[in-house]
Symmetry: C2
Subunit: 456 residues, 2 copies
Amino acid sequence: MDDAHSDDLTPAPTGGLPHVVIVGAGFGGLACAQALGRHPVRVTVVDRHNYHLFVPLLYQVATAGLSPADIAEPIRKVLRRHPRIDVVMGEVIGVDLSGRRVLLAGSGHIAYDQLVLATGSAYTYFGHDDWAAHAPGLKSIADARAIRARVLRGFEQAEISRDADEQRRLTTTVIVGGGPTGVEMAGAIAELANWSLQRDFRNIDPRTATVLLIEAGPRILPAFPEPLADYSRRKLEKLGVTVRTGAPVEEVREDGVVIAGRLCPANVIVWGAGIKASPAAAWIGVPPDRLGRIAVEADLSVAGIERVYAIGDTALSLDESGQPLPALAQVAKQQGLHLGRHLPLLVGDGKAIPPFRFRNRGNTAVVGRSSAIFDFGGGRQMKGWLAWILWALIHVYLLVSFEKRLLVSAQWLWRWATYQRGARLITWDTPSDSDPRAAPSSQPGSEPKIPDHRRI
Amino acid sequence: MDDAHSDDLTPAPTGGLPHVVIVGAGFGGLACAQALGRHPVRVTVVDRHNYHLFVPLLYQVATAGLSPADIAEPIRKVLRRHPRIDVVMGEVIGVDLSGRRVLLAGSGHIAYDQLVLATGSAYTYFGHDDWAAHAPGLKSIADARAIRARVLRGFEQAEISRDADEQRRLTTTVIVGGGPTGVEMAGAIAELANWSLQRDFRNIDPRTATVLLIEAGPRILPAFPEPLADYSRRKLEKLGVTVRTGAPVEEVREDGVVIAGRLCPANVIVWGAGIKASPAAAWIGVPPDRLGRIAVEADLSVAGIERVYAIGDTALSLDESGQPLPALAQVAKQQGLHLGRHLPLLVGDGKAIPPFRFRNRGNTAVVGRSSAIFDFGGGRQMKGWLAWILWALIHVYLLVSFEKRLLVSAQWLWRWATYQRGARLITWDTPSDSDPRAAPSSQPGSEPKIPDHRRI
């Protein structure tokens, strides 16, 4: 055992139960843990964060509609009813396959009998990692807060600018990638400018703000049937979004994006153009596919490596027709559930895990106030306000706790009735509370501490 | 005009109306602006942030009860009904008295006819500014999030620690200063450990966490009558808080505080021991008092400087008996209202502003679930659960918008019924999403991107 990982964080064995370690508490990891909690196995869930994040609603945090805590639930709280599940907040940096140990940053390790890799994915910049600084994706609370702050600060700076070009740049948002996240972001930012901010400024008219959605492919929402994509495009354009298809981004700069050789000045650039799996493949020494995924067998095990499984965005899992399953939360969730149900049976009597079959629950995206699209497969589709209500009901239902459901519903109703947004905060929370990317005019000065009276 | 501040951000004159500039949108500045909004004057409110923060409930953000957005309202939104009020998000760095201009960081300036300084206060470390890094005060959203993250991460790290001493340190919080903020923080952290986290851990019992409230003076809550302070101390001790009075802090270190020559190891140190006014006195070249305040006349004007007023924590304002008014939100609010009502009359016909008189609305502090204290002055006091309900009603009522009132009430009811906390997030939002003070074991590693599935 090497010294670097000498601290054994494996839970004390309870009656010699087998120990399953799950890395990642996203939709897949959490579903797996909850299913395992009903069986006589010991489980440890490791995650970098202390919370499970409901990523499908993250765009509403980025557009000032919800607070981070509305869509994040402490992992411990979700799993508290299962006495045989331990939660470890820590950062996995590798797997010692021969020693059957997960290695953590710092000095810890956790021994496993079975290992489930559910580490998700990140945005990829197609080899231009330097673009990330100017065009954050939408994967974490930090991303969402940063985007929210940049959008809102753009309007603040435009209000005090006396230069029309600069005002235009400051109120321009470019969204790269016409997938569901891009469509939802574009719609939500347009609505923020059109309605929520409408009466708040004196020198600019927020309704003249530019929201540009650019997609390299021939149409937006390529994963959806064409009629739904067309509907979404029309709805977005009605909200004032400019949609450009067949327009690959050539360069992302601090002051804008270059498309077709021309600079399009922008204050905020949001990246939603492509994802890549987490580096879990490297931990176990298997060659990843083009998108960084680990190829898995039908039973979700990693070929050639005993006791290791991969699910969700981490896994390259094929459906019955040999097509890779999409990077969807419902895929991860169903895979987690499948493993969680069958792994305990495996232990002991050598039974096999049956092959996983994905059951498509329908793919959805929300385009704006009162409109959404659903594709249930097999030609069954739905769009418009009824789809939007269904979307809202499903998303509220899928939130982990009753408290969040209550809070999110209340805020949605309020927002729907008043056109307002409740979380219009510009915060960065670096020690100086300012954007690392900030213009000189808002550099952290140590001087003026602003209003903070102690007591009412 | 010097080049450094050549951008004129003064609003275009409307019919030659006089222009009042208010620096700071805390309780004082906002009350002043709202009162001025009813009169034929032009107003510009300048603040570093885009939101007004309801500081009296900030301790609930720091203890995972509320989200920052629940207690922060965009300044523009609050003032949107007043067409003659402009809001500028910017950082004031000085005042050009002869040119009658407020100077902003960057290149802007704003010309004024009347200037109101309402810039609030910050915590002071009695000459030990290096202590600030280890013992944040509770003045900003960033402070509250940092304290919340440190408290919660302490429990996470204790859970995986195998060393009893280290576990004890990791679950110890020291609060320096027995004023209302210190008392409220101590009670809220004890309740978090006793109830909200109670069933979430496997290797530690959060109820054994230590909360230490230390006060240099002979008793806590020196601004309250002794019976109320005694009651609060008993209530805190019942919650498991250790209260030490007559115990000045000798040193604040990263790993704890030194009291009476002995190190008391602690994971979180919260500073609430003394405040100092913002450096507005330096901007206008007047010598501040010991607490950094600007001495003002009975009419809230700064003696010897024309057209400049100071209110709230920035001002040293005396009551009828010659005693300085306390640094309370209600003082700031009443002063702002007073100025806002009388400043417009001054313009034109040279009328004088009548002397300000503070009307004490009662001082309050909440000690924990179902108990609070009120001191209405003149021997009229109140304590217990009825005081707590009154406290809750008043604080909900004082929140700026109906939406926040609704959200905060809902969360309080939920928390009261379930003993849970809705905002248990460990986030720092630095680019690496980790505490600058983090132990090596949680250093930002670039590797494992954790669960983030794109779509449900």
